[in-house]
């Protein structure tokens, strides 16, 4: 689960990670009140959407930049009016962009130097890893690729937690000394505590900055949480912003369906994550484009299948559907009956190819054939994928 920058920074403050002072507003009337809480002087105006690349983004009304520096609070007031309620398109949002519903005002800090700091899971060792770099404000993958010697990694032993010597080591490598070193040590330790205590999946601060007066501040904040652990963090669940999620994905989650919208026109309905991913792949392999990832789970009840069809058909780009079910434990005939009822209920008019395999498949195929529905049967995944690609072309 992702949260907004302003929410992440509120969490940072709670855990003692220093950030520039900031306030938010969700309507133009609140701009003045929000700005009143900040000191007079240079102010940042930041559009709050979950996607990255906001600064280089463009609004659909042509206005450029979702993050702006303003010399005065009066300028910030005008600038916020250009952003709020507008749709921001960035490299990460896709062409549809995201509507900006919250503006975050912060004090514009004097920057001495920018750094990079992140904490995430190192899968190879199954331990948390702190990643830091002297190259802040840049795309970290580019740094890792072009100048790996400027990227420092420290693995944390989960049985002990972060050790002082590890923090000292990082700070030395970042070239910090004096007040900066002391403030950075406190920030790194507190950020790790926050990562661990909140079950974060990733915490990224880019840039982390030093100021001429020796402060060390998190200028930006990107935080995501492990969805599996949300049950023990109601305070984090409360930060979820449904405006940032695809309505079809929200609807899917109500039925324990795992759905992700994509750009293509062939919808898929599959049981199992691995099979669902490879169904998308095989559609592309035979020249089609998948419209979604949809895993109905190992069971796939009738209600789930009906809900899945409705969600798929809510995507106007969909021109055909491929159902791929490997009924291992599930009876294929039960699944076939569910498909027939679902198709009748939603009044499907698009081409539908069904590939059923596994337990009691003969009866399942007979049910599909006897239904009178205009569906096409596929024998293997390859056969089914080729058929749907041809029907949609």
């Amino acid at each position: 689960m992702n949260i907004h920058e302003y929410q992440a920074k509120a969490l940072f403050e709670k855990f003692g990670v220093a950030v520039p002072k900031g306030t938010t507003a969700t309507n133009p009337e609140a701009f003045v009140t929000a700005l009143a809480a900040l000191p007079e002087g240079p102010t940042m105006v930041k559009s709050q959407i979950h996607a990255g690349g906001r600064g280089k983004g463009t609004f659909t009304n042509g206005f450029k930049g979702g993050v702006k520096f303003c010399k005065t609070k009066a300028d910030a007031l005008v600038m916020a009016g250009n952003m709020l309620g507008q749709t921001l398109v960035t490299a990460q949002t896709g062409p549809a962009g995201r509507k900006v519903q919250t503006i975050y005002f912060t004090v514009a800090s004097d920057i001495k130097k920018e750094y990079y700091l992140a904490i995430l899971l190192d899968r190879a060792t199954s331990r948390p890893v702190i990643v830091a770099s002297t190259e802040g404000g840049m795309d970290i993958e580019t740094v890792a690729h072009d100048t790996p010697e400027k990227l420092f990694k420290v693995l944390i032993d989960p049985a002990y937690g972060i050790a002082d010597f590890q923090i000292r080591d990082l700070i030395t490598k970042l070239g910090l000394a004096g007040a900066e070193a002391k403030n950075a040590a406190k920030l790194i330790r507190n950020l790790y505590t926050m990562f661990w205590e909140t079950d974060a999946a990733m915490v990224e601060v880019n840039p982390l900055i030093t100021t001429p007066t020796g402060e060390v501040l998190a200028l930006d904040a990107k935080v995501s949480f492990d969805s599996n652990a949300l049950y023990r963090h109601p305070e984090i669940v409360a930060l979820r912003d449904l405006n940032e999620e695809d309505p079809k994905e929200i609807e899917a989650s109500k039925y324990s369906l795992s759905y992700i919208a994509l750009d293509g026109n062939i919808a898929c309905l599959v049981n199992g994550a691995g099979l669902a991913m490879s169904t998308m792949d095989i559609i592309q392999h035979f020249g089609g484009t998948p419209a979604n990832f949809l895993d109905v789970g190992g069971g796939a009840s009738k209600d789930q299948v009906i809900a899945a069809f409705k969600i798929i058909l809510g995507d106007p780009n969909v021109k055909g559907i491929l159902v791929n079910i490997f009924g291992g434990i599930m009876d294929c005939n039960v699944i076939a009956t569910g498909i027939v009822e679902a198709v009748k209920e939603v009044g499907l008019k698009l081409p539908l190819v069904v590939r059923l395999e596994g337990n009691n498949v003969v009866a399942g195929k007979a049910t599909l054939a006897a239904s009178g529905l205009a569906l096409v049967s596929g024998d293997t995944m390859a056969d089914a994928a080729q058929k749907i690609v041809k029907l949609v072309a």
Partner: protein
């Protein structure tokens, strides 16, 4: 010899009184698997009764192991209690714990894995379909089925299958059995980013098993476990290996059902992993329908008989 489990292996089911655990305990009993004990704290002394079977229930894994001589446990307990259930197997000194549970917090698994350092217990999973060593009876009856895989699609034979995904494993097994090619053991290692046994561990076991003549390695986007296994195969494994990677069309940064199936960088995309497979002499299945045929191609090239 199969790997990890044989038809003689005695199994404990943790969570046998739950719907999910109970249903699959029954299917394993139907398959002929030696399900000798159940564990549900507070229900010790009761029995799990199914047909002619009367499986005793114990309060702890240690009690169950001591009373029955079981060496393996399968875990069906809900996510908030699953980490604890795994550690209980370690404490009881079992050989193997297979965690089926989906949705265990990553932090719990980080701590479990650290706590298992140096322990004799091997963990398979979590979020996995389990392990099947097929038997010699009709539809492979008489084998050892641990977890949630359909037993009847298997056939006893000489191919090892290792995969993160349940349904993709079934797909591969079904293709093999349809071509009359049997399996030694099929291992689902699970779709989570922090798991116990990884691809490489299983590949090493298959390589050392004289009964296994060929291997199907099924992976997906995210992490570098498949790459690590492929490089080891290139250096050490003489057996034919076919590989498949799911997720070529997955968008970066999105979690594709499995918690671990997420493209983080250039190294863990499907294309990058497939390139490494090819470089390491693994016969790549172009589509999931091609997995058994890919292994047949690899076997033919090495002059190996799979049946």
């Amino acid at each position: 010899m199969a790997i990890l489990i044989t038809p003689q292996t005695k199994i404990i089911v943790q969570g046998i009184t739950g719907d999910f655990g109970g249903r699959h305990a029954k299917l394993s009993l139907d398959y002929g698997t030696q399900v000798v004990a159940g564990v549900t704290p507070g229900k010790g002394g009761q029995f799990f009764e199914y047909g002619a079977h009367k499986v005793p229930i114990y309060n702890s894994v240690a009690d169950a192991a001591k009373a029955t001589g079981a060496t393996v446990s399968v875990i069906f307990v809900p996510p908030p209690f699953a980490a604890d259930a795994i550690l209980e197997c370690v404490d009881a000194g079992l050989d193997l714990a297979v965690a089926i549970t989906e949705g265990i917090p990553i932090k719990d698994m980080i701590r479990v894995k650290r706590a298992m350092t140096g322990a004799k217990t091997r963990l398979v999973g979590p979020n996995c379909p389990g392990i099947v060593t097929p038997g010699t009876g009709k539809d492979s009856f008489g084998g050892c089925r641990i977890g949630i895989a359909p037993g009847y699609i298997h056939k006893k034979g000489h191919v090892g299958v290792v995969s993160r995904s349940g349904t993709l494993t079934y797909e591969a097994v079904f293709q093999l059995t349809s071509k009359n090619i049997g399996q030694t053991t099929c291992v689902g290692i699970g779709g989570d980013p922090v798991n116990g046994t990884n691809h490489l561990d299983v590949i090493k076991l298959f390589n050392a098993d004289p009964e296994t003549h060929g291997i199907i390695l099924i992976g997906e986007i995210g992490g570098n476990a498949e790459v690590e296994a492929a490089r080891w195969i290139k250096a050490n494994c003489k057996k034919p290996v076919a590989g498949f990677i799911a997720g070529a069309t997955a968008p970066a940064g999105r979690r594709m059902g499995h918690a671990g199936a997420i493209v983080g960088g250039a190294e863990d995309t499907a294309a990058a992993k497939i390139a490494v497979f090819k470089e390491c002499g693994i016969e790549v299945a172009a589509t999931p329908s091609d997995m058994a045929d890919a292994l047949l191609r690899a076997a033919k090239a090495k002059g190996v008989t799979l049946t």
